[in-house]
Symmetry: C2
Subunit: 481 residues, 2 copies
Amino acid sequence: MWKPDRQSNKPLYEQIADYLEQRISYGEFPPGSLLPSERKLAEQLGVNRSTIIQAFAELRSFGIIESRTGSGTRVSRTKWGATPKHTPNWKRYAEGGSFLPNPPFMRKIREALTDQPSRIDFASGELAADLAPMDEIASLMSAHHYTSYLGYDNPQGYVPLRETLVSYLKRYRSIQTSESSILITSGSQQSLYLITQCLLSPGDAVAIEDPSYCYSLPMFQSAGLRLFRLPVDQHGIRPDDIRTLYKKHRIKMVFLNPNYQNPTGTVLADERREQLLEVASELALPIVEDDPFSLTAYEGNPPAPLKSLDTVGSVLYIGSFSKVAASGLRIGWMVAPRSIVERLADARQQMDFGLSIIPQQVAAQFLKSSHFEPHLERLRIQLQFKRDLLIDTLRKELHDSVIYDIPHGGLHLWCKLLPDVNDGKLLDEAIRRGVVFVPGSVYGSDSSFVRFTFARAKNDEIEPGISRFAEALRSLTSINS
Amino acid sequence: MWKPDRQSNKPLYEQIADYLEQRISYGEFPPGSLLPSERKLAEQLGVNRSTIIQAFAELRSFGIIESRTGSGTRVSRTKWGATPKHTPNWKRYAEGGSFLPNPPFMRKIREALTDQPSRIDFASGELAADLAPMDEIASLMSAHHYTSYLGYDNPQGYVPLRETLVSYLKRYRSIQTSESSILITSGSQQSLYLITQCLLSPGDAVAIEDPSYCYSLPMFQSAGLRLFRLPVDQHGIRPDDIRTLYKKHRIKMVFLNPNYQNPTGTVLADERREQLLEVASELALPIVEDDPFSLTAYEGNPPAPLKSLDTVGSVLYIGSFSKVAASGLRIGWMVAPRSIVERLADARQQMDFGLSIIPQQVAAQFLKSSHFEPHLERLRIQLQFKRDLLIDTLRKELHDSVIYDIPHGGLHLWCKLLPDVNDGKLLDEAIRRGVVFVPGSVYGSDSSFVRFTFARAKNDEIEPGISRFAEALRSLTSINS
Ligand SMILES: Cc1ncc(COP(=O)(O)O)c(C=O)c1O
Ligand SMILES: Cc1ncc(COP(=O)(O)O)c(C=O)c1O
């Protein structure tokens, strides 16, 4: 006789509901017929009665069975009539697969912004519309044709964009590479996805920063990876911690965002970079350097990437168009050994057949145009302005009940709130008042942290936004205005 | 003591090589020291000596150890010197993950075309450059601005494109839907990928056509699905076969390409469509209808999609911009219940943060422009012309040693070769002569089938292409010219 599988990921009640649905659909229990009692089924299948109750509730919600007090549970007559017609159990399918849903906070933020776009947005990690090079891109687009080839792209990405990136990486990031070692991806996000899906196996251990953007990505857990933490202090992670994690857990890869880290804004200190590369080569351990922010360096002196110091070949480097120009073009790039680039390009064919050519053409033209330098210049000044505005307002509104390190690049300010407050409740109160931010717990921190993105809001939204936030905080704590 | 894991997917020799590399890197075996003998290790680890020999070969190839006849195997001195510096074992990483590489034939074809783009291409399943609406798109692009918003897109895709598709689907496919039930994807490929990754679990059984485009996608196997076949005859699959497969294997989903099927060009017969939907609703079984070709119907009367007949809600419908306009825009769409659309949109955020906005704007404008109808008209005529040219030439060159059904839509001609020939060898001979096609075995057929795509080659390439193909065939068989 069939029994539920206790090793399976699928909850017992669902397995049982599935099983009953199947037997009904085979006609074993015709419409109107009585099903075995809860108690009897529990006994037969070796489960608690409460599990059967759950399974019945599930079947009832699909109209497959009906219960009436005192007269037991019957197969529905309407649903399973003479010509039975059943919609697939879509709810069950939607729960299938290994993909974990995005964290509830992220969904809540997305909904808050979709429902009411007028809410002030300190949550979305991207540039405000007026910081993106809209006019520059519009003028490039009107001066060029993009339609000379509209077929499937090269699996590694559009060749002229890769060629442009070879110069870009040399000039701006001191990275020497060739177009065959570059993979163009849909933002850095797809680079991270390809690495976690194609170079690692379920059960592998990896190290990530704590706090980290990566904690906001269920992607790592969806790939079945075991995550271990590298605490970030004012100067980034401590390389010795990697050695310790390797000894204990045989970590297979380290994911770092060493330049203006998301969320903390820290820069990994120079001497730690050297130690890190030593540890990596000692352990033959790959380091993923996720580097979307470095060119935002407000004073114009971005830190040298790990990749530029990497003589051994330990670093997979990831860059992006998103945080320095426009996230909506979905252009990112990875620099990696050829065998890795080819492997990932091949796998990506199965996922989406590669990227659209037009945005790659646009990005290539913009990066090599005379617009790029002045745009960067302006971006840096304006980001710094927004950072200062945010900090001034925080000081005015919240005095010393919030502490932070001042970032010198990037889009974010990471704050510790001194009053003890639950960040989920705080988010609710803030949304009610028309402002959103990201709770620290999304990044793996405890709940007294918040991340403010100052790049996305308009200048004249920053003051009212923080004042609403302060109100929300005051409504939950005893601090004074 | 450590032992290799015989349940693991990783070959034993690799596990052993990994393990030895780790112990060496811990300093347990310093540079220059002698490793235990092959025989001894085999005994300790409970494996054959040949496995140890393989593991040693692997380590030797990375310069980690050195063997000299008679004096055993030692840890390399150069590689593991005083300051050991090791590149990660990238080869091992490239073999990680659950993603199967693309079939060798497909890689061979891709390389043949990249190495020498002048080869005549009967393999790439897309339109020739002059069949794509290049001028129309160029004129739209010069008349519009695309830069009013350059931020992250809505997770389900650009709203105006979804709105355009609501009218498009109603007008051209008799499908009633709303923009909230549409998900824009990177071609139909990403729709298929999302379905296999997010709605099904490893071990689930699914049914696909035989032969089928889906066999060319290791995607299904990468997702751990068990594939069962529905033989395709002149009128498509037989719905009763689905019932049989369901009884035997509890299939969870059926993937069909019912309109001008890839590769056979067949159209599922009307009465089978009805039976199919009956079976689906009887079994509450979801049907994925992959429908990229229908608007190419040469005589202008595309078959009604399953989705338009689906009163129960069994069908997930997938469409694409690729085969009727341009594959390089990477625009596809899925029509599905809201819960499914939301689930897939959420998961896709983790993979790539959604699509680029510009190609979605371009596609929306093109589909609703006055250019679309005349383009379709022209496309149909030209595809029919190419089909006829291909068939005429085949008849002239190969007389009755090749048989096929004449397709009335789509891009492909599916041929059975009467002489007994190995399709791999045939491909090699064809490549040497400057022409490529796809061997039938890629689609799960036996090796006497080939697929010719006639849409991609220029008109004046079709004759010489087939004549080279015929030569290749003659070189391997005894048929006369
Ligand atoms: C550290 C970091 N990496 C990667 C990404 C992904 O961005 P994109 O895919 O737009 O490049 C982000 C976006 O917030 C980020 O902050
Ligand atoms: C039947 C079928 N489905 C899906 C695809 C994927 O095409 P795209 O992702 O470009 O829409 C193809 C391409 O060959 C196909 O033939």
